[in-house]
Symmetry: C2
């Protein structure tokens, strides 16, 4: 009887200890061992070079074998596998990794200009940790875990991706001091006047990631230019608004002069421009920064007329909804700083509402609390109430609810919506991109989400460099905030509510977030299109994340995507009881929070199976057709003229 084989394939002993010791979790978390866990997880996230991961895309049959071979090769030495352009900067033996989930591991620590690579020497297969330096937020030397002897010196590494790493060694010596210094140096290249690794990275994917987003093509897809909207080149050289894209969708009748005048009345010049237009009703989503009304309630005729033009371009509604992402008190407070919001008296036909989304500081604090809860250990008994106390899901709910409100007005009232916050590059980007994803099934495909991110986030100047703090040693910088992470979290929440409506899978979303921090690709570097394209020429000098993704697209496809079923508008339910903590991202470093089943493999398997069946059907049909054709020929009377035989 061979009804059951061996146990669960993923880290069996660990899994077992896990489940059986549910009463004393924190103890078991210290005592379980899982030799390959960190290695496998870091492979998912880190070092995504073509040479390491590319095998996945070429043929799903060969992957494991090829990957295994490479792992074996590396296992021969303590040295780190290197990406093209990567150079070892330092190396130290007899370092201890103080893993919070297993026994401490002794091994060799290597630092390159891209990553930190630790390889254990006391286990087989070796324990491997492979972390891009870009995720490091702070490096701290602290007193060791014991005051003398073993592990007396400690290095604490605080990461941006919800984990911390701690290394220790017996006593200071040259090579160890050097390797620790190299981490400090290469983790913060901007601070240390070193190039970001994306500019050193020499991989060739043979896929044109930088061409994924073509603004004119995207306007065309939306039907622009049309009778009411045109593409303006007034900002082509980024001279009018340095944080806006080169091409702007504006009302057809708006002159360049007018655009300049409106721009002068909006914070940072960010005048209202087109994000999306409904293919039938022509109701639009436009975005901007706040009007500079100030405490005096200044008015600006050009701005008011321009808003009327936006309203009039939509024949279905004589109203324009202005959705201010902020809580109303914050919007009011901004008047003191010269900002504020549109008064309904001045802007006739406009209805202003506030979406109550908190600012970047509140969001940063909420995520900080969440990290404390999920890393390194979780208090199981208070899990739910602890999660509630971070308010993370409340914020996610509020953002998602805001997106639904925008989409609802556009779809169900055929009304146009103008979205803004203060500067219009954080909450505004969250709202427009989520609403667009609800309204337009194109953005729910893999390439569609790439385009959406390029368009609403990158081209409209979400300050990725400031919010993430790329390459800078300023852990407590008040400009850092998980704004883009929240957007991706909201997308994930939508995929949970509509599991068949999205072409991409969870791995795609996690991969985007990993490379938000990694600095391996040029995609998320710098703060605006102007900086990226004009100043730093990332298209010429770095690789696009989308090259990496699209090169091995199969890895990121949801096998349950039912395109034909989902050509309509999706309205996710934004309530606490329908939202979940995205454990697959926030808790993934904890081996006890990993999925029980290898969903990733199963997904790929389903795709392969589907492709095989479809191919088989095609082959057989072809064969039948050709046989039928021959049959017809054979049965034809010989006397017919054999023209095409």
């Amino acid at each position: 009887m061979d009804r059951r084989g061996s146990q669960e394939y993923i880290d069996t002993p660990n899994r077992r200890a896990d489940a059986a010791s549910s009463d004393s979790i924190s103890n078991s978390e210290r005592s379980v061992s899982f030799p390959m866990n960190d290695s496998s997880s870091s492979k998912e996230s880190g070092s995504p070079s073509k040479s390491l991961c590319s095998s996945a895309s070429s043929s799903s049959e060969n992957v494991p074998a090829l990957e295994m071979k490479m792992l074996k090769d590396f296992a021969q030495s303590d040295e780190s596998p290197l990406l093209p352009g990567e150079v070892v900067q330092g190396m130290a033996k007899d370092v201890t990794y103080l893993c919070p989930y297993s026994d401490f591991v002794k091994g060799t620590l290597t630092v390159t200009n891209y990553k930190l690579y630790f390889k254990g020497s006391d286990r087989e297969p070796p324990f491997i940790l492979d972390v891009p330096l870009g995720v490091i937020s702070r490096v701290e030397k602290i007193g060791g875990v014991s005051s003398k002897g073993e592990n007396s010196y400690c290095l604490d590494i605080i990461c941006k991706d919800m984990r911390n790493l701690r290394f220790a060694h017996r006593q200071e010596n040259h090579s160890r001091r050097q390797v620790f210094e190299k981490i400090q140096q290469y983790a913060f290249p901007i601070t240390n006047k070193l190039p970001l690794f994306a500019f050193e990275y020499k991989e060739e994917y043979g896929v044109a990631g930088w061409s994924v987003y073509d603004p004119e093509a995207e306007f065309r897809r939306q039907g622009v230019p049309n009778d009411s909207w045109k593409i303006s080149r007034v900002n082509e050289k980024y001279e009018l608004i340095d944080t806006y894209p080169a091409l702007l969708g504006v009302p057809k009748s708006a002159t360049d002069e007018e655009l300049k005048l409106v721009s002068s009345f909006r914070t940072r010049g960010r005048l209202p421009v087109l994000s999306w237009i409904h293919p039938r009703s022509l109701a639009t989503i436009t975005r901007s920064s706040q009007p500079m009304v100030g405490v005096a309630g200044k008015r600006n005729k050009d701005d008011e007329n321009y808003i009327v033009k936006i309203m009039d371009s939509n024949a279905h509604s004589n109203k324009l909804f202005i959705m201010d992402a902020r809580p109303s008190v914050n919007a009011l407070a901004n008047k003191a700083k010269g900002g504020g919001f549109e008064s309904e008296d001045a802007y006739t036909g406009c209805e202003v509402s506030f979406l109550d989304i908190h600012n970047i500081h509140v969001m940063r604090e909420s995520l900080r609390k969440l990290k404390e809860l999920v890393f390194p250990t979780i208090d199981d008994s208070k899990w739910l109430s602890n999660i509630e106390s971070t308010h993370w899901l409340d914020h996610i709910k509020q953002i998602l609810a805001g997106g639904v409100k925008v989409a609802d007005k556009v779809e169900n009232n055929k009304a146009s919506v103008l979205v803004h916050c203060s500067d219009g590059w954080d909450r505004t980007a969250q709202l427009t991109s989520l609403a667009m994803m609800m309204l337009d099934p194109y953005y729910r495909t893999l390439k569609g989400l790439e385009v959406l991110i390029e368009k609403e986030w990158l081209s409209f100047g979400h300050k990725f460099a400031q919010r993430v703090g790329h390459g800078e040693d300023k852990h407590s910088d008040a400009d850092r905030s998980p704004v883009f992470l929240q957007f991706i979290d909201c997308v994930w929440q939508m995929t949970r509510q509509f599991p068949n409506a999205f072409e991409f899978n969870e791995h795609f979303l996690v991969t985007i977030l990993d490379h938000l921090y990694s600095c391996l690709f040029g995609t998320f570097l710098f703060n605006s299109e102007q900086q990226r394209v004009k100043e730093m020429k990332v298209r010429e000098n770095t690789k696009s994340l989308w090259s990496f993704i699209n090169y091995q697209m199969d890895d990121f496809i949801n096998p349950l995507y039912a395109e034909y079923l989902h050509q309509h508008v999706l309205f996710p339910v934004a309530s606490m009881r329908r939202l979940e903590i995205w454990t697959g991202y926030y808790c993934r470093w904890n081996p006890r929070m990993r999925p029980q089943e290898p969903i990733h493999l199963r997904n790929r398997e389903l795709l392969v199976l589907k492709a095989q069946l479809q191919k088989k059907v095609e082959e057989l049909q072809k064969e039948r057709e050709s046989k039928n054709a021959r049959g017809i020929l054979q049965s034809q009377p010989r006397v017919s003229s054999p023209v095409n035989v």
Copy 2:
């Protein structure tokens, strides 16, 4: 451009109000309208007659059309569609259903000997409520919502399935009084000396549900009898232990006399017998009630020797693990009542541990709190901490963790485990059946779970009638408890952790629970095999739930089941952060908690698609073969003898 069609198909207006009004939930829950919601949900759960639902199994193409036609027919009149054997008992017009999620609905209320059927008269399509009387726990006349005029008399109906219903009418009159009295009467047939509807139900499924479980075949499947175990007929007439099955798996060397002596030392005679045996190691799971050691610590040589026989039947371990499901204090307290647990001194080689699962009263109270939270409205802001305060998930965790402990010993230590609690029919059944499901992939198939329920729950005398309170007007009976519901909840939790490991889907689990209460089938009636089979002859006089299920099996199949991947032992992680409130069951009456996508339809679609593709491949292959055969014949030289042409 037709990139997007109409909106979400399920109750669009409602869905919309939902999402957009996330800030003021309880208000919106009162104001939204969803004409067909209750109707569609009650169709899922109630009136599952062949004539109503059977179409699903015969051809998935015809279902909607046929169902629509029938719905239309019914729509012509206010009368309820009737099952074979169902008789209308009363009817009243102008009754108001005080729906907690929509405007109040006026309509006609019909009561039959099986169900309560309400049809609204003020909407098109009509609002329909179709509730088996079996789910009713209590009926209460209360003061109306207003003291005079409209809706001054009220009927409150407390249900066993996590909802309450409230009807009202302007003033007392004969037909309304009569229909309310009929509800009281037919909801509690046992109290009112009426037959349970299962004995009136005259459907013919043409599927032998009662034959799904054949104890001898199941023993054979497990390899019993073998060198160490035999099937004993000592209880064939239920004379030795009236709550045990007719056939018992016992150690081969145990004589009938010995079994009787051991039985006399166990509460209610429930001696240790075989539940499951490992196909390779021959480690066993046995189950029993507590030994009657009492405060004096009585010993019984027969019981001790018998336990040694169980231990010795497994060559791989010289230890037997006795897992007492109770908290140790409860086990100790039982000594005062003559019960208790095995002392390790008396039972050499045994290791006793306590699994800390609380008793039926604690569980009932926890579910009561949960119901208060989820029905009728949910406080979204405190959702997580409120859920935590019910401790429902803590209890689920404890039961699941207990199952894992049993399975772990059997699989990883190759050791045998004896499970008991006090009587051995509540917590013991939860633990043995969950452990068996983890260990044996057979029980993870649809028929396998049917067998598991028949075997570990029904044949071993889980007191379904007492725990559910079938047909009795004793709302506060202390014997009622959601023990079986907890088991099904644990199964659902396992399906969440291993989405590809189970052949059945969530709808199967919900359907089982619906018919736990409905009294439509004989399956869950009465307290023991003896009562069901010998006294009440349910096999002859009622239908089996499994006939209904297996007649339309496709509806209950998980399209993502990957049998070949899951022929091994599953160890679910039993920790709070991996468990979820089963909203698909507990919160399903709340329209705002329904899934956004019609997963049910999508599942069926996937199955149909798979079947079509497979059929196509087969057809084309057949065609090719026959053509090839003909081809060979044609190309053969004419001179060969044409034997088989």
